[in-house]
């Protein structure tokens, strides 16, 4: 099959149905110019989802359950894809409107602007009182913290890895690489044996490339090196960073990402992985619910391994929070919203349900109790193997201002197009970083809120 061939996407149908069912509170009878929910007597709790598809299933049914148990409040969910949130949220919140509760990007410039403007409800009391602090590991809590206050509940823990097709590796007699040299030779073997695109880069969307390059960076400099750069005096142009970026450039120049890396979106790349056209792609656990439905019978053939480090250093585990759940400071339903967050993310029963839905909730979970998708289990096992070496962020750009993320994506596309060099990429990032640092826009290292 050729690249880009469509794939059966039965799942998307189910996802939308659920998204819609959640909002079915409002009837079709609305004709006039009212808008909003005007249900008699009830207090309404408005929720905007910016969440990834697939997560909605488990989450939506839990929210509906909570809604049933709380007759004094009625929940209304507005389905908000990643396209809709940014342009809608800013004007709404800045005008004192907007949802009571929403799931949005953690650590983004927009979220920080909301916090600075006093538009986000302070979750620190709940964090301390309801023992959330015992559940959320400090390295994740940091990302939802500024000025020693907790502003969001992380939706999930996300980890990344190199996803690959086991049967293709088997057919060519390849084994999972544990050193960088092995990895490069695997890429070469694939390229020379009928797979012109050994690694799907999804360069058109660019953010998947940031996950890969970020993993190469943190592998090269290790957890301490990452902390040095993000919170200390380290630079983006250090030796480890340079080595990793140059290796990335070499891969690109050698055609490891195929003849047309910038022409494929993330969707197209994943479809190619499911169809066995692309043997490997670097991505995260967030895709698993989708892969389960999208890959169909090929799902069991997908495996995952931790990317070897370019300089032979130890491999670390990686983790980043997914989206964050924020409460509107102007909400009259803040208490109810806090209660809902507590119900969703900090009760054992529901955490298990979320996990069964393919999403790893923040904090300790008993993996033996639940039946997990094989791929998720493999990803978690791979992470646990290297946890002793420390934990690095899965999403490097999450801990930096938006300008860094944008500069990363643009320069990565430049490398894939052959118009930017590894050196130029790092120089750009370093100078962007210095500008932001001077403007006081980088995350402080104060750590999680003290209780």
């Amino acid at each position: 099959m050729k690249r880009g061939t469509g794939v059966n996407t039965q799942h998307s149908r189910r996802r939308r149905v659920t998204a819609v069912a959640g909002a079915a509170v409002a009837s079709l009878a609305l004709v006039a110019c009212g808008g909003g929910a005007e249900e008699s007597g009830d207090e309404v709790l408005n929720i905007w989802y910016g969440s990834e598809p697939g997560q909605k299933d488990a989450m939506t049914s839990l929210i509906a359950q909570w809604d049933e148990e709380h007759p004094e409040v009625s929940v209304e969910i507005t389905a908000m894809g990643p396209e809709l949130n940014p342009p809608s949220l800013l004007p709404a919140l800045s005008s004192g409107e907007g949802p009571d509760l929403w799931a949005g990007n953690l650590g983004s410039s927009q979220s920080q602007a909301f916090i600075d403007a006093g538009l986000v409800h302070d979750l620190t009391p709940a964090y301390c009182k309801s023992n959330w602090n015992k559940m959320i590991p400090d390295e994740l809590a940091v990302i939802a913290t500024s000025d020693d206050k907790m502003w969001a509940v992380p939706n999930s823990i996300e980890s990344t890895g190199m996803f690959y097709r086991k049967s293709i590796f088997e057919k060519l007699g390849l084994s999972v690489p544990t050193t960088w040299e092995d990895f490069v030779s695997v890429v070469d073997e694939l390229k020379n044996n009928g797979y012109p695109t050994p690694i799907g880069a999804a360069g058109q969307d660019a953010w998947p490339v940031s996950h890969l390059l970020g993993a190469m960076w943190s592998g090269a400099v290790g957890p301490d090196g990452v902390n040095e750069i993000l919170f200390g005096d380290g630079t983006w142009t250090s030796t480890g960073m340079t080595e990793a970026t140059e290796e990335f450039e070499k891969l690109a120049d050698a055609g490891a990402f195929g003849p047309d890396p910038l022409s494929y979106t993330y969707q197209a790349t994943m479809a190619d992985l499911y169809n066995g056209v692309v043997p490997m792609t670097y991505t995260g656990g967030f895709v698993i619910p989708d892969a389960q439905a999208g890959a169909g019978e090929n799902f069991d053939d997908i495996g995952v391994f931790a990317l070897p480090t370019v300089n032979g250093g130890p491999i670390s585990a990686n983790a980043s929070p997914g989206e964050g759940w924020y409460i509107n400071a102007n909400s009259k339903q803040a208490d109810a919203a806090e209660d809902l967050l507590n119900y969703l993310f900090f009760t054992d029963e529901n955490r298990t349900k979320i996990l069964e839905g393919g999403l790893v909730p923040v904090g300790p979970v008993d993996l033996d109790q639940v039946e997990l998708p094989s791929l998720l289990e493999e990803l978690l096992a791979e992470q646990n193997k290297y946890r002793d070496n420390g934990v690095v962020p899965a999403f490097f750009e999450l801990t930096a201002p938006a300008s860094i993320g944008e500069a990363m994506m643009t320069s990565e596309q430049g490398i894939l197009a052959g118009s930017t060099s590894a050196d130029e990429l790092l120089q750009t990032l370093q100078s962007t970083w210095e500008t932001e640092k001077q403007a006081g826009k980088i995350i402080s290292s104060s750590g999680a809120p003290k209780c």
């Binding site: 061939t5 469509g6 794939v7 059966n8 996407t9 039965q10 799942h11 998307s12 149908r13 996802r15 939308r16 149905v17 819609v20 909002a23 409002a26 079709l28 609305l30 004709v31 110019c33 009212g34 808008g35 909003g36 929910a37 905007w48 990834e52 598809p53 697939g54 507005t78 389905a79 894809g81 990643p82 396209e83 809709l84 342009p87 809608s88 800013l90 004007p91 709404a92 800045s94 005008s95 004192g96 409107e97 907007g98 993330y266 969707q267 994943m270 479809a271 895709v287 989708d290 999208g294």
Partner: protein, 292 residues
Amino acid sequence: MASLAPAARRTTPGMRGFWQRRGGKVVLYTYLTVLALFSLAPLALAWSTAFKTKAQVVSNPYGLPLPPAFENLAEAWTSGRFSQYFLSSLIISLLSVFAMVIVAPLAGYGLARMKFWGRRLVVVVLLIGLTIPITAIILPLYTIMRDLHLLNTYWSVVITHVAVGGPFFAFIMRAFFMRLPEALADAARIDGCSELRVFWNVMLPLVRPGVLTVALLEFLWSWNNLILPLVFLTSENVRTLPVGMLLLTGRFSTDYGLLSAAVLILSLPVIVLFVLFQRNFIEGLASGAVKG
């Protein structure tokens, strides 16, 4: 031209002569047909995909949807909530049209038929309006709508449509009014009619095609607009079709069958209107531009 001598035709073919010769005709129709294919192919792709099952989308991406399947349309219409989005779009467009056919002819008549103090300034200020992108003023506009308590109501979008489109449609109506002979109005004035009566009883009935043009174009524009409902209407009860369509493009997968069904639902009403009123669309637009 038929009377031209063969020798003369050879030396002075002329454009019309060229197109009328047999070779010219072949070139002419080949050119038009290629261009028509260019216009039609993208839409044909979307429209036919709307009637394909998921398996057909993969196995037969460019063929006819035989037998036609209606699952995509049914799904978009019901569980995709497009029936509701359709209703919102329809209400917004009809309200916008209703407001515009009142506002634009009045203003167009004022501009075309009256000499008044500051006329030039008014024209310039209105012309400036044609160059202001909505994207640029969306945030200040949002604050205004909030203060008027119009957010999440159809009015926020309708009012902005009429305010932004007003100058353009006023100029179109002005072009229609300018073509009427002044003597008509003068005769009515001598009969003692007030200016409003002259407008209403004498002039307006004569520019009915212009009003229809304004109504059609305003419908088209408000039906297709994306940015205003995206920002002003955040409640799902009032969400419109183009916004709903944006929702269909997820990060992980695009269901082309469903997307195509959405394209069909979004484009069918304007196409039906356009085919029914082709002359008004085209003549109105063209005369506005050519004679205005």
